[in-house]
Symmetry: none
Subunit: 220 residues, 4 copies
């Protein structure tokens, strides 16, 4: 009920014999999409399975054909939303890198793949519900954070070159992601009061980093 095993919440897709497999997968996706909508709007606890079912266009009981319980639904939601990103993190980094290029790619990727999609809500959900779902936090750490941090660190190392003054960044790659986090949270909480221009924010962030580091690395 409160938490399943550490990480082993593999979905139980049950057998969907014959050609119903497609339909079945579509349903599963519809449920996940509906769950994201509802969880994002009201949080995990305040969302009723009934709401998810209604939004997904299925009956309440149907959800239990695809997910063991509400917790598993949440786990799968996070897992399925983040898998593509995880896959990206696995990719071997390209050969030549400049800091400007790296920051540009990271920023664009964030804006395009996360902030511009509903993954933004998944990230926020992970941050919000994490304390209640240690296994989700652990999954997110293991699959995303523990991979992204070293990966970015390695890319940075190559981008700023040995001896350059980017030690601060190399030591704390989190500094690169921080504004993205702010953007996600701001939009969810304060957008109705004051809009925060993400692209501007990220551009200003990159500009500052480039000044701080490139100056060092681009000496005469």
């Amino acid at each position: 009920m409160s938490e399943s095993g550490s990480g082993g919440n593999a979905a139980k897709p049950r057998k969907h014999p014959r050609g119903g497999a497609e339909r079945s997968a579509a349903r599963r996706d519809a449920i996940l999409a509906a769950a994201l909508d509802e969880f994002a709007a009201a949080g995990f606890a305040a969302t009723r399975i009934d709401d998810v079912a209604r939004r997904a266009g299925v009956a309440k009981g149907t959800i239990y054909l695809y997910f063991r319980d509400k917790d598993a639904l949440f786990h799968e939601l996070v897992r399925s939303a983040l898998s593509p990103i995880i896959a990206v993190l696995e990719q071997p980094p390209p050969g030549e890198i400049t800091l400007r290029g790296l920051l540009g790619v990271l920023t664009q990727t964030f804006v395009r793949e996360i902030f511009g999609t509903r993954r933004k809500d998944v990230i926020r959900l992970v941050l919000s519900e994490g304390p209640r779902f240690p296994s989700v936090a652990e999954f997110y750490y293991r699959e995303v954070v523990a991979r992204a941090v070293p990966a970015v660190r390695e890319l940075l190392r190559r981008a700023v070159g040995p001896g350059a003054g980017g030690e601060a960044l190399v030591t704390y790659p989190q500094l690169i992601v921080a504004p993205a986090l702010v953007a996600v949270m701001w939009e969810a909480l304060f957008d109705r009061f004051e809009t925060l221009e993400v692209e501007g924010l990220m551009r200003a962030h990159c500009e500052l980093l480039l000044r701080a580091v490139e100056v060092k690395g681009s000496g005469p």
Copy 2:
């Protein structure tokens, strides 16, 4: 919030300790402290009033003598924890300012007043539960964000001087706070897997900002 101990708030003075008013205020604080512990650990919805009562060393019904309902308890928790910070934001800024000094003060204040206290958890709660408590989000925006952002912006303007290259920062003061947000979230979610050294993070952050901006302002 007054001052609750680091971890154990078992306050069960069954006897006749003091005057009613003092005792009443102490009880209120004990309840708020207990509520913070519980809300921070499990989130608002998953916390039972009974748990708060037990941790505060009072009966369930007693909580309703001090707070109208669970929502009001949460509201008061946020309000009382953030009031001191709000008061600080009201203070007239000092006369002479350097960017280094400003960043140092902000960082130290953050570490001492927020990250080093349970206010860190309150901030995280506001971010987590905000979508479910529009009024809390609004309170936080109005009283904290909407004051802090312009205040920091103004201080920055004075610190970097006209014509200096700190426009990015002046336009997006959120960039200054971003790493603090990361620190708060990281500690709550990932600290058990990997520690994030806040002071180091903040120092690196400041270092980068100083390089990015001072270089501009101190050119030949």
Copy 3:
């Protein structure tokens, strides 16, 4: 009970292809019947939903599938029990009327349709709980009293004829109903101490009225 009236705003019996609808209506009726039993025995406030559920043979939560809350259950109880009577009040009165015939019909109707059924308890509940349920009192006034009083008055007018001495009755048709009220209350409160013979009471009442009025109208 068993007969949900025509005018009842049923909660929502949900659709179920075949036998479901019947079963649903049966359940609704069972709950209403159980509620009447319990409310009549202990009053609205002292009755627990749990008791109603147990007596109806359903789970507590089931009641909330059929009625929004305890208040709505009470409202529906009154409404469904009184609808048939209201329907009768709508009927056009027959052509020729004698006072004896009128009193006989009214008495028999009362004994058969109210005193001989559990509607007697519903009436008593309305009287007892009315002050706490203004809307129930209003419903009862609008649908029953405000129709019955003029209807009886009109019938009386035709039965005693112009000039006859029945002005008292025509002005206060409540006098005709008064003993019925006494019968209902007496049975609920004092029957265990002393039985009140309803039929005798009503017969004596009619006899008195006939003597008082007919004497006037049938003088030599």
Copy 4:
């Protein structure tokens, strides 16, 4: 909690030594008066001891110095309000009686002593809460009904004389009281929609009875 013994709810006035006795009695009365107000307005169950205390101008705990519990308060309320009436019922009936005189006295007594006072509310409370308070119903039956019915019956017997046609009344003295009951209930429930003129109602009632009986008794 739900019901005390048959009738033994004698108050426990505790000793109020010295001159405090008067003050004590006044307080007791104030509490009873407040209880009547509140019970009449909302019913027994929906009335909070806190409400009674506030209206009585005493602290909540004080009520428990005068009454064992909420039930006892209700018992005492009924008892104290009805005692004067009970006393009247004990009085030896006067010598010579006419039906007209009897009805006039009864009516005037009802209007003056009950309908014109808050005893009206007590009567209604007894009728409303009776099923939940068997001992109150029993008290009311024993002390009021079981005395009033035979008393009125005896008076009637003397008023209409042997052989007269008032057998109906003699057999069912309840018929005399019935309109009074209607008046009490009507006022509580329907007065806001339509006023029922008590005096007119009672006068019409008496008129009818006199016609029905005197005609018989005053033959040539």
